[in-house]
């Protein structure tokens, strides 16, 4: 889910419901778990997801990656269901299943023929309470996670840059740690660490259930009572805010890795969405990201890639619906023969152009058209609808406010976009991470602990 945080484009923020009818439906179980059901009867499919409000940001130093490792361990069986059995049952029902861990949450899903939904609910509720963690399973799965880290990060130059960017931008806030975990933390992780994590966070009062598909919400509510409703609530640990102190000067970090093209990512600290009704700037930042990189006619590609031929690629992203802190990110690869410094200057110039001259009525209208079209297209995918509700809820909002959020984005004015472009892009809150490409020395395997992060 890392890339999603990078480039969380405006359109990923579709609406939970384009109608004012009762759909979706919501109910809270007596143990505190919330159940949200969106009926969609186009095809006999059901998407079943459980989201836990526990992600990498809830970890402590020395334990980075434990949220994700536990996600892997959740497939290893319970007191009554053998390891791998859940996967087997899903597969034989004709379905597929997986899970994902982000900074803010951990989520589990199955996409199945709707007739299999009650069984999924039984199995998911079972592993919420009865996970059987063994030292042998843990040791084996930890190796798998280290392989995952090698694929995603060690051998992926842009993954290394992203890791360095976060580790540099944040001094205090837990977003400084990678979701996958530092390799050394993984090497020292124990069975007990995973078990503690499970006991601490995997409770119904820290979770919500999402079902989207060809289902009857009343029946889902009854089945939820029968399954999840039996899991006992427990008190959750206190969550410390761990707010990032104000940054007071530009930070720069360089990552060396085998590659050909350099790459630059520039991240400014900006506000996250807190109050759907009263916030304004956050919506203007969303529109700014859209104007820069939200569609095929957006400014960065048009100006830097196509017109000036200065960039191989260029992008912008802002995700304001997060539990922690928000950043506005510009990134790109310089074109052959151009430098990172030139690209950095050009990216800054695009922001300055919005600050000086504002945006056109056409550009603003396009963003709004994209929102409407995105809403319609989203209805072609049950998983997309479920993900949207899930992510919005994960950052502490209710799906009920989603239409309002869209309305607010569509109400943003050109002046508001210009105002945020002027206000938020000074050097004092900026972190710049650069990939310094290294020639491939075929005789030199990379050192095991070569995680080139420099503060």
């Amino acid at each position: 889910m890392k890339r999603a945080l990078w480039f969380a484009a405006l359109l990923t923020a579709g609406s939970a419901s384009s109608s004012v009818s009762a759909n979706p439906y919501e109910k809270q179980l007596s143990n505190g778990m919330r159940v949200i059901v969106k009926e969609d009867h186009r095809a006999p499919t059901a998407v079943h997801m459980v989201w836990y409000r526990a992600g990498a940001m809830d970890e402590q130093d020395g334990y980075s990656g434990v949220a994700h490792v536990l996600e892997h361990m959740m497939f290893k069986g319970t007191s009554t269901v053998k390891g791998g059995e859940f996967n087997r049952i899903v597969a034989e029902a004709g379905g597929r299943d997986n899970a994902f861990t982000s900074l803010d949450y951990t989520a589990y899903f199955q996409i199945v023929p709707n007739t299999a939904l009650p069984r999924m609910m039984e199995l998911e509720a079972d592993r919420m309470a009865n996970l059987r963690l063994t030292a042998a399973d843990f040791a084996s799965e930890l190796k798998v996670v280290m392989e995952e880290r090698r694929t995603r990060t060690e051998d992926n130059p842009q993954g290394l840059v992203y890791e360095a960017l976060n580790a540099t931008a944040y001094r205090a806030h837990p977003y400084r740690r990678p979701i996958i975990g530092w390799m050394n933390d993984l090497e020292n992780m124990t069975w007990q660490d995973a078990h503690d994590w499970y006991r601490r966070w995997y409770v119904p009062n820290n979770a919500y259930l999402l079902v989207v598909g060809d289902v009857d919400h009343a029946r889902v509510f009854r089945d939820a009572e029968r399954t999840y409703g039996r899991v006992k609530a427990r008190a959750l640990p206190v969550r410390k805010p761990q707010k990032e102190p104000a940054q007071t000067g530009v930070k720069r970090v360089t990552v060396k890795a085998p590659a050909k093209l350099p790459y630059i990512a520039m991240a400014w600290k900006v506000p996250r969405l807190k109050d759907v009704e009263h916030d304004r700037e956050q919506y203007a930042l969303e529109v700014l990201a859209g104007v820069l990189d939200g569609n095929d006619a957006a400014r960065l590609s048009k100006s830097l890639v196509r017109s000036q031929k200065l960039a191989q690629s260029a992008g912008a992203g802002y995700d304001g619906t997060v539990r922690g802190e928000a950043m506005f990110i510009l990134d790109g690869q310089p074109a052959e023969g151009r430098t990172v410094a030139e690209l950095e200057a050009a990216l800054r110039a695009e922001l300055q152009r919005v600050a000086d001259e504002g945006i056109t009525a056409d550009e603003l209208a396009r963003i709004k058209t994209q929102v409407i079209a995105g809403e319609v297209y989203k209805r072609d995918s049950m998983m997309a609808q479920a993900m949207e509700i899930g992510r919005f809820e994960a950052s502490g909002f209710s799906w009920r406010d989603y239409d309002k959020l869209l309305e607010k984005i569509r109400a943003v004015t050109a002046e508001e976009v210009q105002a945020v472009a002027k206000k938020y892009f000074g050097d004092d809150t900026l972190t710049v991470a650069v990939l310094d490409p290294q020639p491939i020395d075929e005789s030199q395997p990379k050192k095991k602990s070569a995680v080139p992060v420099r503060h």
């Binding site: 087997r88 190796k143 694929t151 060690e154 079209a373």
Partner: protein
């Protein structure tokens, strides 16, 4: 994410779903048309494919098919690239490219409301029939393409994929990848000629799904294809020759070895397809429940991603088994995977595996076609490869009819050890 192998090219591994009615006709232009009418959502999806994939790149000009497809919207008719993208964005439409070894083309998703639909289809018609390939745009995209190739040539995953294709398809267009030199040779006249020769109505397959009537779909298909160039008749591709078993090691400093094992295996429409599909599910296509996943990942923790797939093409498409694993243990991990493969080829699936595979493939049919976007993919594939219109309806029976003996015999015919090529990038 727990698995990376999202799109395990099971491609046509799905599914008949009662109620999907595929209509087929030939437009007056000569284009073949495949259509599903559905009015649930105000969306129209269109895909137009041509026999114009990379397999048709002229010798020495690898990359031409891809660049041509990529630059259809680089300028068309009187419109420049900025006008095309602005018009698309103004109506909320999205255009995408298709660039494979056999086929190339364009996808369009638009709101089905009259104004938006008409404007989007007019743009699609223009980019298909009258691309201008402006000199400056071609020069810029050549440079970007070359930079992307140079970048890819530093990445172990890209290196291993290219080396594998070259090794299993010696002396065949399927094995050729674009290089800095081959793209460097291309000029706008090459693109214009490739378009003129290959983007003809006779070589076109139009797939349409969404909120339009049959009569409207007929008009749409004709208007999209009536102004296409006359083109050349489709020249047959050379036969695929099977490679000799070999192990190729490529030095690279990566932490993980990238391993591919495989060979050219099966064509679209081959009678053994369903036996291979069902068998491969148990071997390495079925995600967490496959033998490879159990032996390599679950039992030994050797890999995050380990899989096998079959990807039929017009000619023999690849069977491939692959994984990434810490380089120090690559030899051990590969031995486990090879043992699994050899055991499967020899013994086939157990009765329990066979039953499980059939249940997933048959009962999962509905899920694989539960959106317009997913159905469009099936329509386009059925159309392009001339599969029976009843493909989706027949699917459950064809899967159900597969026997363990049938799987063994199909693997014996299509996956022979004496032709298996192994490529290891970042080998110790």
């Amino acid at each position: 994410m727990r698995i990376l192998l999202a799109a395990l090219v099971m491609a046509l591994s799905a599914a008949a779903h009662a109620g999907v009615k595929i209509e087929h006709w030939v437009a007056p232009s000569g284009a073949r048309v495949y259509f599903v009418e559905t009015h649930d959502l105000p969306i129209l999806d269109v895909e137009v494919d041509f026999s114009a994939g990379s397999a048709y790149d002229p010798p020495g000009k690898a990359g031409l098919a891809g660049l041509t497809a990529n630059l259809l919207d680089g300028g068309a008719g009187d419109l420049d690239e900025e006008a095309i993208s602005a018009r698309l964005v103004d109506i909320g439409a999205r255009m995408g490219g298709v660039a494979e070894s056999d086929r190339a083309g364009v996808t369009l998703r638009t709101l089905a409301w009259p104004k938006e639909r008409a404007a989007a289809l007019a743009l699609l018609q223009l980019v298909l029939a009258r691309p201008t390939f402006p000199e400056a745009v071609v020069a810029r995209e050549k440079a970007r393409s070359i930079a992307a190739i140079q970048e890819a040539d530093t990445r172990p995953d890209a290196i291993s994929a290219k080396r594998f294709a070259a090794a299993i398809y010696p002396d065949h267009p399927y094995g050729v990848s674009a290089t800095v030199e081959s793209v460097g040779r291309l000029g706008r006249d090459d693109l214009a000629a490739f378009h003129r020769d290959h983007y003809s109505a006779r070589r076109a397959v139009v797939s349409i799904i969404g909120d339009v009537s049959r009569a409207e779909a007929e008009r749409i298909a004709q208007s999209l294809t009536e102004a296409l160039p006359a083109g050349l008749p489709e020249a047959p591709l050379p036969d695929v020759k099977l490679p000799t078993a070999a192990t190729i090691k490529v030095a690279h400093p990566a932490a993980q070895s990238h391993i591919h094992v495989g060979l050219p295996a099966v064509r679209r429409g081959d009678p053994d397809y369903f036996a291979l599909l069902v068998g491969n599910y148990s071997l390495g296509g079925g995600g967490f429940v496959s033998r490879l996943m159990k032996e390599v990942r679950e039992k030994r923790g050797y890999a995050y991603s380990v899989y096998s797939y079959i990807a039929p093409r017009k000619l023999e498409g690849p069977f491939e088994m692959g994984m990434q694993t810490k380089r120090e243990q690559a030899g051990d991990a590969l031995k486990v995977a090879n043992d699994v493969l050899a055991g499967f080829i020899k013994g086939g699936p157990t009765e329990a595996e066979l039953a499980a595979a059939k249940k997933n493939l048959i009962d999962g049919l509905g899920l694989r076609i539960d959106s317009n976007a997913k159905l469009l993919g099936y329509l386009a594939t059925i159309g392009f490869f001339n599969l029976p219109l009843s493909y989706l309806d027949d699917f459950p029976a064809r899967v159900a009819a597969v026997t363990a003996k049938g799987v063994r015999e199909a693997f014996a015919r299509h996956v022979k050890a004496e032709h298996l090529v192994t490529v290891i990038v970042a080998a110790d």
